[in-house]
């Protein structure tokens, strides 16, 4: 008996230690409300989120029609540079204008044109000249029968449409070729002189050479018709104009 109880006594501490070990080891799996609560919850919540996302995706895939394969190629976005248009042409001119009964005198002015198509252009013109002496004034020096005094300035403008024809090139020397074209034009306008404005009609023809794409030289001859009653009776006058000009395109 004695020996049996001794064994019991001897083995009891071992058993207690074993029981304690087993019991304490289970503590890790228990939820202790006062320690480490947040960490364990987060660890447990994560798998459920993944699970629900997978489910939603699966449900969506089941509901939507089958998708066509979309190529994952990004189109390059190119900045499109603007094309500069150069249809306007502006420049000065110099020439002579013969005003009926007043002789031929130097004239100068400015012209602006817009090229609408390769064939047609629209041209605005502004010019000025000084009237010469009439035959009567020349034969009677010092006389001024029209009372013009210093009012000898004649200013005129016209709006014309022009048509280019016979386009081609002119060659100067061996290495230089310049574009050229003939043109005809006609329009309407007004002439102001001797204190009165007159409606005018103009028509003519010209020749244009382009030493560079932006530069032109041109000569043209136009007839400017207007009715004049400066000598008492109303008559239609033909007034020829010849000129040379330089214009720049922009």
């Amino acid at each position: 008996m004695e020996s049996r109880s001794r064994v019991l006594l001897l083995t009891r501490p071992l058993a207690v230690a074993a029981v304690a070990l087993v019991g304490l080891s289970g503590c890790a799996s228990l939820k202790w409300p006062w320690w480490g609560r947040g960490e364990t919850e987060a660890a447990e919540a994560a798998p459920t989120v993944v699970q629900s996302a997978e489910q939603a995706e699966a449900a969506e895939a089941a509901a939507a029609p089958p998708r066509v394969i979309e190529p994952e190629v990004e189109r390059r976005t190119i900045k499109r540079n603007k094309i500069d248009t150069e249809n306007f042409e502006v420049g000065p001119w110099y020439g002579v204008l013969s005003v009926e009964d007043f002789g031929t005198n130097p004239a100068y002015g400015i012209k602006a044109a817009y090229h609408i198509t390769e064939d047609f252009f629209f041209e605005g013109n502004l010019g000025r000249t000084t009237l010469g002496k009439t035959s009567f004034e020349l034969l009677n020096p010092g006389s001024d029968p029209l009372n013009l005094g210093d009012e000898r300035r004649l200013t005129y403008y016209s709006l014309s449409f022009g048509y280019n024809f016979l386009p081609g090139e002119v060659f100067i020397g061996r290495n230089l070729a310049m574009n050229s074209a003939f043109y005809v034009l006609g329009g309407i306008g007004s002439v102001e002189f001797a204190g009165d404005n007159k409606f005018s009609v103009n028509f003519g023809a010209g020749y244009r050479v382009l030493p560079a794409d932006w530069l032109t030289l041109h000569i043209d001859v136009q007839d400017r018709l207007f009715e004049s009653d400066i000598f008492g009776t109303n008559k239609l006058t033909n007034n020829l104009e010849a000129r040379i000009g330089v214009t720049a395109f922009f």
Partner: protein, 263 residues
Amino acid sequence: MRPIVETIGRAACTLAAVFCVAGPVLAVAADPAGSARDNEKLLQLFVAAPYLDLRTGPGRGYPVTQVIARGESLDVIFRRTDYLKVRTTRGIEGWAAARDLQGALLADGSKFTLELGDRSGYQTHGWELGAFAGDFDGANLVSFYGARSVNDNLKVELSASQYLGEQRSGYMVEAGVTHVFAPEWRFSPFVTFGGGLFRVDKDAQRPNLVDRTDQSAYAGLGARFYLTRRFFLRGEYKERIVFTSRNDNEELKEWKVGLAFFF
């Protein structure tokens, strides 16, 4: 007679001098200006048609001197009317018709389209310019106008007119609004109204007129008719009231017909 002969002679000499001397000088001097464009950013195109003709000038009448093969790259230097000045990678320059380049490829592979003067342009465009001749209360009328499109139907206009008659002459500068009812129709009617300044230079009935500039307002109707390319005819009738400083206002009727173009 001497001054006339001298003047003509001088003009002829100037002319000869400019054409024979200034031409080549300017041509040579203008070259650096052309190469200065190199630095600008130019639109690049790739020929998609089997071939592309390059001409010496901006028109069908200029000779074709270069032919560009499909797939070759071009830089567009500038545009004049419906022609584009282009430069190839080899540095060759020439003029290509915009119509021939319609459908060429851009660097990102998309198609290049260019606005050309046609019916769709007649319906939708930014600007209009035109000149009219007509009658203004018995006087001849010369008129010029420019319009900016707000949309296809609505245009804001600025016009300058001169009336030249036996009895009276003067000019008008006015701004107004025009509404086109059906811009897609070839023959499309419109209404217009506006106002501006009315100037009398000569009035045979009132030779001693003191206040020569008055305000005016007008209302009118008209129609435009598409011709071809960028051109259309335009005709209109306007009733105008001039708010004179005299006891009575003046009512003046005006009609005019003209040629206009859009761009």
